[in-house]
Amino acid sequence: MSNSSKKQSWWNNARNRSLFFQVLLVAMLVGFFWFIGSNTLANLEKRGISTGFGFLSLKAGFGILQSLIPFDESNTFGRTFVVGLLNTLLVSALGIIFATIIGFTAGVARLSNNWLIAKLAGIYVEMFRNIPLLLQIFFWYFAVLRALPSPRQSWSTGDIAFLNIRGLYLPEPVLGAHFNLVIWTFVLAIVATLLIRRWARKRQDETGQQFNMWATGLGLIIGLPLLLFFALGAPLSWDIPKLQGFNFQGGMTVIPELTALLVALSVYTGTFIAEVVRSGILSVNSGQTEAASALGLHKSKVLKLVVIPQAMRVIIPQLTSQYLNLVKNSSLATAIGYPDLVAVFAGTTLNQTGQAIEIIAMTMGVYLFISLTISGIMNWYNKKTMLVER
């Protein structure tokens, strides 16, 4: 009698087992959510809280320190959500720009052949990476910005920009007539430059003729709008802040909360970006640089055509995850009262309305949406730039 004719007992069958296990898992999950759901409903009923998103159209009745869109007490709770979200996006965007600049500088400096510069960059990275972000935010906000002078004794640069305990006061550009023409020219020039670059590359591939892209691009993007600007009679003036009474009037104000959060986020994330950049550059095999030099490429061409494209493959995914961290970390704003999404919506609005479940779900939803979108784009990019291997 052969073994195969012997019936295998049904519980030793891998398919049955996995089916049984998964049914059990689903049952546990359903049970868990049923438990939570019924408890929540019972608790809500006991506390007399009504569910639903109706509260979003109610009058908010509180002001917000900084708002990119017009907002006052008479606006709705729904609008507080938008104000908070815009403030989060503002600090994230600015933070990403500054952190990238700091990070790339420090990362490259750490590989510099100048011993002192390399060491200084190393000290910066090791120092700020190992201190909690919240502590750094507190330090900038409570210890540094609170120690600034009062408005009357402001630090100023040429009576144009002022820094004091209430914030940073900068001149605000006032756009005159037809200034938007300049902006449109600028945008068109960028598009034109990109098109010309495509054409120039194609021509170089086919004929080997090179094209001076630098001068063309510079002339188009900077020169053309500048020419138009002066041709229109320089339609731009500056609203300079002036001390009136106890405070400054006019100009743009950067509130200290934003400054502290921005400095801390950029400095902290900059250390991680520096490490990403360094590891990216180091990941390019030295044989690549040597081979490129052996072919007679100039040092700058080696960097541009050989090292950077390969380093970017390593840098970009990690860089994106650092950007995501920065966006998520910007929620620490709530600790110093910068009115971001968490502080305004999951803080004040939640306290006023008591709609904990809806508000926390919406807040988490926003962050989840940002994270998943960016990581989706990242996966697509990774697939696109992946080395084609056998």
Partner: protein, 367 residues
């Protein structure tokens, strides 16, 4: 016949400008005009920052005393930290019971050192003790309520002690959950896989603050009113979920690095799934990701500061509250520098340890 013997003339010494101190300076600091400018800027920065900082922190600082009158010089007033040190370390834990905290952490220190140092005998036994028995001992030491130890409610816990408790318990529970999630994500069962993916991506996609808000505001709604749980415990649950998602991704990295042949060979030998994982795959995978695990632990350790937002008194929160004491106004810089150095020393040494491990384990799989 004369024989000309030519012997090579002795090599000249290298030019003085390329060896020794001068050579080193020329090559590393002044190799070009731009480099020289950078060096000078760097030196100026050091000159402006370092001596004043050292003067402030060490030479002009006040070290001894009990009141703020002891701080007369221009430098730092470490008296502030000294007077409040016990509170910074233990929060509002009753001082007669400090020995319990000290004992618990010393025991943990000894156990961890035993496990980390090479060439200590009976690692398995000590490891089992650390995982199964030590948590029970630590619970009774911290909380009390048995063996004649008075109960210390969790709202009295605080300072560095709370920070360490949050970080270690977070890690302790997140580790096994993370492993299960990582295995789930690579499982061939579609439902188990999708549950793991959703769980991991959800917790990784939201900031820790919203998780803590959720655990402090929403969790009480999710459970029956009569079994309301402690604030500290709620924060811990949030941290464990959050951390286990990150841990799962680290472990997944290790699992992916193990070649397929390993599990195929184990299967061919007739090992079941769990036996294959326990004895073949996980030991190799976890060894690979120890540095990654240490890095997530460092991140968690720094992230525990966030609990101050939901009103728990960790090290940073205790120090922050101390600034509001009217007798000690204006010493926030000293306080922040103290907290920063505690975190810095801890995180820096852990990251150095993980780099050391990376070098030590850089055998076998990495080619």
């Amino acid at each position: 016949m004369t024989v000309h013997v030519t012997s090579p003339s002795p090599s000249l010494a290298p030019p003085a400008s390329t060896v020794g101190v001068i050579g080193w300076l020329r090559e590393n600091l002044f190799s070009s005009v731009i480099n020289s400018i950078f060096t000078l800027i760097g030196l100026y920065l050091i000159y402006r920052l370092v001596p004043p900082a050292i003067n402030w922190a060490l030479f002009q600082a006040d070290w001894v005393g009990t009141t703020r009158d002891a701080c007369t010089s221009d430098g730092a007033c470490w008296v502030f930290v000294g007077v409040r040190l016990k509170q910074f370390l233990f929060g509002f834990y009753p001082s007669s019971e400090y020995w319990r905290v000290v004992t618990a952490f010393s025991l943990l220190g000894v156990l961890v050192a035993w496990l980390l140092i090479d060439r200590t005998p009976k690692k398995g036994l000590v490891g089992a003790f650390t995982i199964f028995i030590y948590p029970v001992i630590a619970y009774y030491l911290f909380y009390g309520g048995a063996f004649g130890l008075p109960v210390v409610e969790t709202y009295k816990w605080g300072g560095l002690m709370l920070t360490l408790i949050l970080a270690t318990t977070g890690m302790f529970f997140a580790f096994p959950i993370g492993i299960v999630l990582a295995l789930g994500r690579r499982s061939s069962m579609p439902i188990a896989k999708s549950i793991s993916v959703v769980f991991i991506e959800f917790w990784r996609g939201v900031p820790l603050i919203t998780v803590l808000f959720m655990s402090s505001v929403m969790l009480p709604m999710f459970i029956p009113e009569e079994m309301q749980i402690d604030k500290l415990l709620r924060a811990m649950i949030g941290i464990v979920f959050f951390q286990s998602a990150y841990m799962a991704e680290v472990v997944r990295g290790g699992l992916q690095a193990i070649p397929r042949g390993q599990s195929e060979a184990a299967e061919a030998l007739g090992l079941s799934y769990w036996k294959c994982m326990m004895f073949v795959i996980l030991p190799q995978a976890l060894k690979l990701v120890i540095p990654g695990i240490v890095n997530t632990f460092i991140a968690l350790f720094k992230d525990t500061t966030l609990v101050l937002i939901i009103g728990l008194f960790d090290l940073l929160a205790v120090v922050q509250t101390a600034f509001a004491d009217p007798k000690w106004l204006g010493f926030s810089v000293e306080g922040y520098v103290f907290v920063a150095s505690v975190y810095w020393v801890a995180c820096f040494s852990m990251s150095r340890y993980s780099q050391h491990l990376e070098k030590k384990l850089h055998t076998g799989h990495a080619r």
